[in-house]
Symmetry: C2
């Protein structure tokens, strides 16, 4: 069986792994995201080391962004206009492909995770679903009609606008572009800034979580009404709080208010809004799945 | 060349036509939507009359909803849970198919219009776009990855939640399910109720239009961030006001605030947010396109 490489290219850290799937991850390395030269260099050396023992069929990259995920574009595989210092207009996929001489699959971090969940996790057998991560930022990807969602560029689901009652929550939001978009109100840094302590230190009965569930549910309602997903997978650091997902599910039902008469929402919401089955390995496994998909083209 | 029938099945009126495309609509009839038996009966008699002269290859139906658009479902082709009296759980497609003995294509009114625009109008050559109608209600359909968007059921884009500043606009919204969702704030009846006169009688410099553009632009921003469409087509009665579309375009740019660095949005917004090329025939032509698609399956 051929062996694949995967790179989960995050804004804070890179995770590289070699393997074939969730039950066969043979080696893994993590290191902080510094400069492109240093960071991509470390990734390349990790895979070159493995190539001495066994050949890699392809490498997949699930990257922070914005990125160019269109294979026909001259800047395919680039991180494009990111505000992260030094990384704007970086040819990530090309650098890896030239150094390792293998086909390279490339997409957003969340589309990668979505593909991993489709292949091995909570989205098996579905053709239209979304994967959201609620962490340092909020991002969303997914499949529609059996293919990863790209369109004009790729979704930026964290930046939708939602109702924000400033009498209930005077916090202005922390998105440098939009203030109180979904990410500006509900990502980890917004929680920390609003309540003056890190999200994971807030107790389960703190009002922070009702408010967080409200914003996330408003976001989900909008994604449901726009895309009509067959399932929604919610990962990321903020979702590690086990009391949050049940609050979100209930609030989604309340906000939809019976408008969508489908059993999946009315009766089986626990099976409709779910955590990732691949847990915190969704990212790097998604990258491996992107490598496999690159071979299948 | 074979001949197709199309039914634009609206909540207020039905339009039936026979033809092959926008330059060849041979006959058309319009009548009010009354009971299912009477209304579908009139449609059937119209097509039976034509079948005496020339055979129909298929009939397409673009219907008000909610509907079941999944060909594998036992209730495919039904209008399902509509509040419209007498029409809930009506087998529209089956009734037409049995009466006329032809294949029947069936989808939402907005997916039908989207397919028509893809075949003959403003969405030719695109694989991911949306078609919105702003009229008595607000609905959205479209294609993603080259196929009409369905997912769990079908999109209900009018029911997304958007920011609503009650200090600026104390109107509570008129959606019976959600109050101030997009449709509740920005469909024709909301304009009429808020300002005490019909939308088409409000002068171009009335503050109603700035507010309308604000709500529609907030909706568009959410659709753009969620689906990343290559183009957005805006039809429906409210969009007949020629001063409205430019206001919406400018406000979308302002709200996105340079976050999406793509020429289509930054420089070519007039080519990004556009009216339907098929005008008010998008509905019935879309229905004919659904009939053609039913034959191609």
């Amino acid at each position: 069986m051929p062996l694949w490489g995967g790179i989960e290219a995050g804004g804070t850290k890179f995770v590289c792994a070699v393997g074939t799937g969730p039950h066969d991850l043979r080696a893994e390395v993590r290191f902080p995201t510094t400069t492109p030269t240093e960071t991509l260099g470390r990734a390349i050396r990790f895979f070159q080391q493995h190539q001495k023992e066994e050949s890699l069929a392809a490498v997949g990259i699930a990257s922070f962004g914005p990125v160019d995920p269109h294979p026909d574009s001259p800047t395919f595989g680039y991180i494009t206009t990111t505000p992260k210092p030094g990384w704007a207009h970086t040819d990530v996929a090309g650098t890896i492909r030239r150094a390792l001489s293998v086909p390279v699959g490339f997409d957003t971090d969340v589309n990668g995770a979505a593909l991993g969940e489709h292949r091995w996790g909570a989205a098996q057998g579905l053709d239209t679903f979304i994967y959201l991560t609620i962490g340092t930022g909020i991002g969303g990807g997914g499949m529609v009609n059996g293919k990863l969602l790209h369109g004009l560029i790729h979704p930026e689901m964290g930046h939708i606008r939602i109702p924000h009652d400033r009498n209930l929550d005077p916090y202005a939001g922390c998105c440098p572009y939009h203030g109180d978009c979904l990410e500006g109100l509900a990502a980890g840094p917004a929680l920390e800034e609003r309540w003056g302590q890190r999200a994971e230190t807030l107790p389960a009965d703190h009002p922070a979580w009702q408010l967080e569930a409200e914003y996330l549910a408003l976001g989900l309602v909008n994604f449901i009404c726009t895309l009509s997903p067959q399932r929604i997978i919610m990962g990321g650091g903020v979702m590690q709080q086990p009391h949050l997902l049940p609050l979100v599910r209930r609030r989604v039902q309340e906000l939809l208010n019976g408008y969508l008469q489908v059993p999946m929402i009315l009766e089986r919401i626990d099976d409709y809004i779910v955590p990732p089955e691949l847990g915190n390995r969704a990212g790097v496994l998604g990258a491996i799945a992107l490598g496999q998909q690159a071979m299948e083209r």
